[in-house]
């Protein structure tokens, strides 16, 4: 009986234990391989970015599609963000008798953190998934191969333009979202109080300093770059077939969003060293 059990245990541990270890190592190795490939992909972006001829028209078209077409979404979410944050913050400040701080406190939260991060997440959901799906379906239907055989560099035409457009357009969208958000905050303040437009912004700008604004804007370039390059990488290296399209688009959003949080954490650590 005991022997039988022993045999069973060893058999089970052989069957389960070994693959279990391997699974960890495999997953970890897969993860690092993926990071390496993504890094090489971004190196290639910089290499091809500086090499003429430049795809100016396609870049402008992408900037329009990526930036201009995202404006409604960014404006709506920005407004609600500012409004809701103000409404939610008021009771706490009232409790401390610090209601007059409301504009400044909300403004600092929006400009430093909530504006950039929320807008970047929305951007990852809209633009990152769009790029991932578009490139993956171009790959599945051999359009990328078709570019290559007609002697046109598809990396340059498709990838470089999209990453560059995402990198440049996200900061613009964030600035817009911040502005709309502050307006939302102004509306929120006036739901239960009476502060003139002039006074509201006077209070906001009195408390806001350059060191609140600049690092917050700079980090959005990195967010935009991350969303663009992860979306492109996922699409460009999607597996063949139509199911590859869904996988690429999904992975672009998930990994893009996660990267935004990680970058945000890193940036906050770095800026707190200097300021």
């Amino acid at each position: 009986m005991a022997i039988e059990l022993k045999i069973k245990v060893s058999a089970v541990s052989k069957a389960v234990g070994k693959p279990f270890e391997n699974l960890y190592i495999k997953t970890l190795r897969g993860f690092f391989e993926e990071i390496t490939r993504l890094t090489l992909f971004t190196f290639r972006f910089f290499k091809e970015l500086v090499k003429p001829p430049y795809e100016v028209n396609e870049f402008l078209k992408q900037a329009y599609l990526i930036g201009y077409k995202s404006i409604p979404l960014v404006v709506i979410t920005g407004f609600i963000m500012g409004l809701v944050l103000t409404i939610q913050s008021r009771p706490t400040l009232v409790e401390f008798g610090a209601e007059s701080w409301l504009p400044a406190m909300v403004a600092i939260s929006i400009i430093r953190e909530i504006g950039p991060v929320i807008t970047a997440l929305i951007f990852a959901g809209k633009v990152g998934s769009g790029i991932g799906a578009e490139l993956a379906s171009m790959k599945a239907t051999e359009q990328i191969d078709a570019m290559e055989v007609s002697g046109i560099n598809p990396f340059k035409y498709l990838v470089v333009t999209r990453i560059a457009a995402a990198t440049i357009m996200l900061p613009v969208l964030v600035i817009l979202a911040d502005a709309v958000s502050l307006y939302g905050a102004y509306v929120g303040v006036n739901l239960k109080g009476d502060v003139s437009f002039h006074l509201f912004f006077l209070e906001v700008f009195a408390k806001l300093s350059f060191t609140d604004v600049l690092p917050a804007i700079i980090k959005t370039f990195f967010f935009g770059f991350a969303v663009g390059s992860i979306g492109c990488y996922r699409g460009y290296h999607a597996s063949q077939g139509t199911e590859g399209v869904g996988v690429a688009s999904n992975a672009a959003v998930v990994q893009g969003s996660l990267t935004i949080f990680i970058l945000d954490m890193v940036v906050v650590q770095i800026t707190s060293l200097f300021i």
């Binding site: 001829p53 578009e134 171009m138 239907t141 051999e142 359009q143 191969d145 078709a146 570019m147 290559e148 055989v149 007609s150 002697g151 046109i152 560099n153």
Partner: protein, 241 residues
């Protein structure tokens, strides 16, 4: 006769699975060579090696006198402008109109000559009988029309070698026949050499000057359509019945 392309003992594996095991053939100027084989026999892999989209593990591909593997990117791009490739699905750029699709391969030629580009586009569309589709989007076209537009885009640079990947697959018999006849017209008009990859006997019968049959990654038979259809090999003959 002048040899325009050569495939010498090329092999190609994916994940330890050998798809091509040493394929050999030559193509003469102005000739239609049909490469015949079952689905999954590696025909697309072969033609992609010829266009430099995949690099063979071993062996060499010589196109228009140049070894593809030895070329720098810009040299490869110059050669590629002289080679046309019709993809299985047509591979039209779906974010662009038919006109923009056709202009795309011309984009690094002289941009200034707008009239010339326009007349090239119209000419290419006339050759495939679809002049009216010029301002349509690819999503508005039928399968047969997409193939024709794909062909027009391939022809716009007046290639010296044309690679066709399953030009008639997925089309009804009548449209298939039209496409096969179009391939013959193009052969006459452009005097280009063509490699036609197919598993469609009717297409092979119409277009082939010469055929090779591949099976499990090697060439098992070569000859004219007539010769192969009377082959003593049971397996080869089975395709033609």
């Amino acid at each position: 006769m002048e040899i325009v392309a050569e495939v010498n003992r090329i092999t190609k594996s994916f994940d330890n699975r050998e798809v091509l095991k040493g394929i050999d053939f030559k193509i003469e100027k102005g000739e239609n060579l049909v490469v015949f084989g079952k689905s999954g026999s590696g025909k697309s892999v072969l033609i992609k090696c010829m266009a430099g989209l995949l690099s063979p593990d071993d062996g060499e591909v010589i196109m228009l006198g140049e070894k593809i593997a030895d070329l720098e990117t810009h040299e490869l791009n110059i050669i590629r402008k002289r080679i046309g490739f019709l993809f299985q699905s047509g591979a039209l750029y779906d974010s662009m109109t038919v006109r923009e699709n056709l202009e795309f391969p011309l984009r690094d030629l002289n941009q200034s000559k707008k009239d010339e580009i326009d007349s090239l586009v119209v000419e290419a569309l006339e050759n495939v009988g679809l002049k009216d589709a010029i301002d349509k989007m690819p999503s508005e076209l039928s399968g047969g029309m997409r193939k024709r537009i794909g062909l027009a885009r391939t022809l716009i640079l007046k290639p010296e070698i044309i690679l066709y990947d399953e030009p008639t697959t997925g089309l009804d018999p009548i449209t298939s026949k039209e496409i096969s006849e179009l391939i013959l017209d193009i052969q006459k008009k452009y005097n280009a050499a063509s490699v036609i990859i197919t598993h469609d006997v009717e297409c092979a019968r119409i277009t082939a000057n010469r055929m090779v049959i591949i099976k499990e990654g090697v060439v098992v038979a070569a000859g004219t359509f007539q010769e192969l259809s009377k082959s003593s090999d049971q397996w080869v003959r089975s395709f033609f019945s």
